[in-house]
């Protein structure tokens, strides 16, 4: 019994240490973002806030460009999400449920696209979008974010589509349902955790993208959150309270999304790894 208890104690200690490594930085952002400015920059940092204020968040919303960046990020991420979900589910349905000669090769080529380095594509995409007069537009960011989100999404959907019995589709088509009806009424509802995973992945990819946004967007009015926040870091005197509030507020939507459908997302990653 004592042996058993000791091993349990070791187990829980290890788990706690692991989760601390993951969580501690986030605790530090949120706990510090509610401290008074003097406490934030104090040379003797306090593990638990000694003061409490929401000034930094108020400043963020009222006297910085944060609301503009936020709106832009929401627009770009929502559009990326919608386009990725449509493109990836239709491609995944074609690849996995209606295989055709060469579909496996095509699947591999699509995955290869995912490996393709962003920094390699930065220069030519910049030239291409500039010749299309798309520099400094949100459309440019949407186009690029879909490119980076879609290939992985196709892979992510594989395990979910594979778990749906073909008999269901056959039954639907015997009942006279068209392929579109079958897809929308039979396949997609069963694969909905997969579709949710794709949506969350596309949203996050877009929400966090920095490199292309920093080059393709020129005017302040079109900037997204990562570039906006990076602008604050670059200033000569950093307002840490504002910056931490900005970091906290930028992370919050992702945490909320994850509370809702994070389970499916990780399940998708786990199942994809086993079955694919």
């Amino acid at each position: 019994m004592t042996e058993h208890k000791r091993s349990a104690a070791i187990r829980y200690t290890l788990v706690t240490l692991t989760m601390c490594l993951i969580i501690a930085p986030f605790y530090w952002i949120y706990s510090s973002s509610v401290k008074e400015s003097t406490e934030i920059v104090s040379l003797a940092p306090t593990l638990f806030p000694q003061t409490f204020t929401l000034t930094h968040y108020a400043n963020l919303l009222s006297s910085s460009d944060y609301p503009i960046y936020l709106t832009n990020s929401v627009v770009v991420s929502a559009a990326t999400m919608a386009i990725t979900v449509v493109l990836a589910t239709s491609a995944a349905y074609g690849l996995y449920r209606l295989p055709f000669p060469g579909s496996k090769t095509l699947y591999r080529m699509i995955l290869l696209a995912y490996i393709f380095p962003g920094s390699l594509l930065l220069i030519p995409l910049y030239v291409m979008l500039s010749s299309l007069n798309l520099l400094d537009t949100q459309l440019a960011l949407i186009i690029i974010n879909v490119t980076f989100a879609a290939p992985f999404s196709v892979w992510l959907l594989k395990a979910f589509f594979a778990s749906i019995p073909f008999e269901l589709e056959e039954a639907a088509s015997l009942d006279g349902a068209s392929w579109l009806q079958t897809l929308l009424r039979v396949v997609l509802p069963l694969a909905s955790p997969g579709v949710a995973s794709v949506a969350i992945f596309a949203f996050i990819t877009s929400w966090t993208e920095y490199m292309f946004a920093s080059i393709l967007i020129i005017s302040d009015a079109n900037r997204t959150l990562p570039v906006g926040l990076a602008g604050i870091i670059g200033q000569y005197v950093i307002d840490w309270g504002l910056l931490l509030a900005g970091a906290g507020a930028t992370t919050l939507p992702i945490i909320l999304l994850f509370v809702l459908i994070g389970r499916y997302f990780v399940q998708g990653l786990l199942e994809g790894g086993v079955k694919a």
Binding site: I110, S119, L120, P124, M128, A150, M211, L229, W240, A247
Partner: protein, 292 residues
């Protein structure tokens, strides 16, 4: 041919945004282009010559190798440790397995802000804790020299990426039959023997993909480095992606930057071919459903 019709929108999209740009990158590397929209004369291999003879090129290639190796090593150690921990039975395991991915899904900029601040020298929490514990006598300058900045950046980047690898390893562990472990237990194998003789071989296909994709991802990391050190101090963290970015968008030498990008791509491609040739697990060859 409904299947083809359903795949083609995505295929065309990727053709336009990946395949065509790569073609135009190669074209650009032979042109004398500075600022976008200017120049454009064919100059043969001049861009390549200039890049190869520049003082920054080879050291940057070397730093990229150090960067990839450092990240690969640290992330593998972290991810294996975390996966072994999260594979044990404990209360709240499902929750822990979901939230472990958090560092991978937050914006890089947020990770940068918090780590830059935690590793600071005036009131940074890490220095404060280490000082109070008596581990160090004076503040560590995490970004003060080229080498220390490189090490710190590897640490920060690894913190961001090891969660994904943890999930991938956990997925691989689920695929290993429990019977193997039971049989080994009957034979009296130690935990370490079970790890080296069952877990590691069982994870081979997963480890192969992880090594390949992980390398390709980490070699391209730009934002973490650029936003924290900008390649400094004294070029100590100037890896290839940062060098290419500098050439293209700060020095306005698009043609030359394109040549540098092509050279880097060539190096990465050679690595990929060698990696697949020497390390591809045999089973993956005939398994069409293989982990690609």
């Amino acid at each position: 041919m409904l299947g083809v019709a359903l795949v083609s929108p995505l295929a065309l999209w990727l053709l336009a945004t990946i395949a065509y740009p790569i073609f135009s990158l190669i074209r650009l590397s032979f042109l004398d282009v500075g600022v976008i929209g200017t120049g454009g004369e064919f100059v043969g291999f001049e861009n390549y010559q200039r890049v190869l003879n520049s003082r920054a090129f080879w050291p940057s290639m070397g730093r990229s190798v150090v960067w990839v190796l450092g990240n690969g090593l640290l992330q593998t150690v972290l991810a294996f440790s975390a996966a072994l921990v999260l594979n044990m039975p404990f209360r709240g395991r499902a929750l822990a397995r979901t939230w472990v991915i958090l560092p991978w899904i937050v914006p890089t900029v947020v990770a940068i802000i918090v780590w830059k601040w935690m590793l600071g020298t005036s009131g940074g929490i890490v220095n404060t804790i280490l000082l109070r514990l008596g581990v160090i006598q004076e503040q560590l300058g995490f970004f003060s020299t080229g080498n220390s900045a490189m090490a710190s950046l590897v640490g920060i980047n690894s913190w961001r990426f090891f969660p994904l690898l943890t999930i991938i390893i956990l997925a691989g562990m689920q695929g290993i039959s429990k019977d193997l472990y039971d049989a080994a237990g009957v034979d009296g194998a130690s935990a370490w023997q079970r790890f080296t003789n069952i877990t590691i071989p069982g994870l081979k296909p997963v480890l192969f993909v992880m090594g390949l994709v992980g390398t390709l991802w980490s070699v391209n990391i730009f934002d973490v480095i650029y936003l924290i050190t900008g390649g400094g101090p004294s070029r100590g963290t100037l890896t290839m992606p940062v060098l290419i970015y500098d050439m293209a968008f700060l020095q306005y030498r698009l043609g030359r930057a394109a040549a540098a990008a092509v050279l880097m791509a060539a190096a990465v491609t050679l690595f990929t071919i060698a990696f697949i040739y020497f390390l591809a697990p045999r089973e993956a060859d005939d398994d069409d459903e293989g982990w690609q």
